[in-house]
């Protein structure tokens, strides 16, 4: 009797179903392999594909961030605000940032901050020379695609998009 045929004794077999399950199993193994490779590239955060930079025309404000983030996992935002005559530098982050993230640390600490209905505003002391570089560590509290905006004292706002995994 052919191996691929059903036996009725001592158990009732369903080789058609079993063959289908073996195929699904093997397809899933390939899927796992592909998923792991994608994870190594940074599709799920922390990798080459995840690191992203954005800047406004003229580089008034530039940002380094993780394109792919995970809910509750600390995410890092490196913000560079171009040098100017002023003693202070203002960073405005759009309302969705304030709503979706719990900020755990800001380096350097801002001189003052305030939150309005549109923006969350941070005012930093400028360094003696050169650009201001600030780092914000924040935990996403929502998952999904976040359309965020950052703006400085001058120039157009910088729009960037983050995907937060559940």
């Amino acid at each position: 009797m052919d191996e691929k045929e059903d036996r009725r004794y001592p158990v009732e077999e369903d080789m058609r179903f079993q063959r289908r399950m073996w195929t699904v199993e093997r397809a899933a193994w390939i899927g796992i392999g592909v998923l792991l490779c994608l994870a190594l590239t940074g599709l799920f955060g922390q990798g080459r594909w995840s690191r992203a930079t954005a800047s406004t025309p003229g580089s008034a404000i530039a940002l380094e961030y993780e394109r792919f983030q995970r809910i509750t996992r600390l995410a890092r935002f490196d913000i560079r605000i171009a040098a100017s005559e002023s003693q202070e530098a203002t960073l405005r982050l759009s309302r969705p940032f304030h709503q979706a993230y719990e900020v755990t640390s800001i380096q350097p600490w801002p001189l003052r901050s305030s939150a309005g209905s549109e923006n969350w505003e941070l005012v930093f002391a400028r360094p003696g020379s050169g650009d201001l570089v600030a780092t914000i560590w924040a935990q996403p509290r929502q998952f999904g695609i976040m359309n965020l905006e950052a703006s400085g004292d001058r120039g157009s706002p910088l729009s960037f998009r983050v995907l937060v995994y559940p």
Binding site: E3, P10, E13, R19, M21, W22, V24, E25, W29, T72
Partner: protein
């Protein structure tokens, strides 16, 4: 609501992972596999509880997982098709003392596995003493010896 949904998704992921890893993965529980399952449990635990360590959260997680399990057991009882998908099906791998190589290869069962089950459960020494070896849906190998009077009880 989030807790219930999370627990349901975790149940589905763990079920799918166990199902696609194949029956033999479950049956061949070595010390390393045991540690692996503990690690999986730990990873799932953090995802399930998050930062909510309240009794209410634990209660909701437990009831969701047990609830889904009970519902699936009803499906398994009433719909044979669902039972096959949820549990899998039994496959004969040795027939009349002859191994069925295509089935064994596909199921990742070796003759050594069959002989080990035959020794362990019935004290049998070789394949010729085995009438049927069946790879069960659970991943265990059941042995039906030729002459049951000669076989030691399990």
């Amino acid at each position: 609501m989030e807790t219930v949904l999370k627990a349901a998704v975790v149940y589905l992921i763990v079920w799918a992972a166990i199902r696609i890893s194949g029956r033999r993965t479950l049956a061949e529980m070595t010390a390393f596999d045991f540690v692996l399952f503990l690690l999986i449990g730990g990873a799932v635990h953090r995802a399930l509880t998050g930062q909510d360590y309240s009794l209410t959260n634990a209660f909701l997680i437990i009831t969701t997982l047990i609830g889904i399990d009970v519902v699936l057991s009803f499906f398994r009882r009433d719909w044979p098709g669902a039972a096959k998908i949820i549990k899998g099906v039994a496959t004969i791998v040795v027939e009349d003392g002859q191994p069925l190589p295509w089935r064994m290869r596909r199921s990742r069962v070796t003759i050594d596995d069959v002989l080990a089950a035959a020794r362990h459960n019935h004290g049998l020494e070789n394949l010729q003493q085995i009438k049927f070896a069946i790879l069960e849906a659970s991943g265990d190998i059941s042995i039906i010896p030729y002459d049951r009077r000669l076989a030691a009880p399990a």
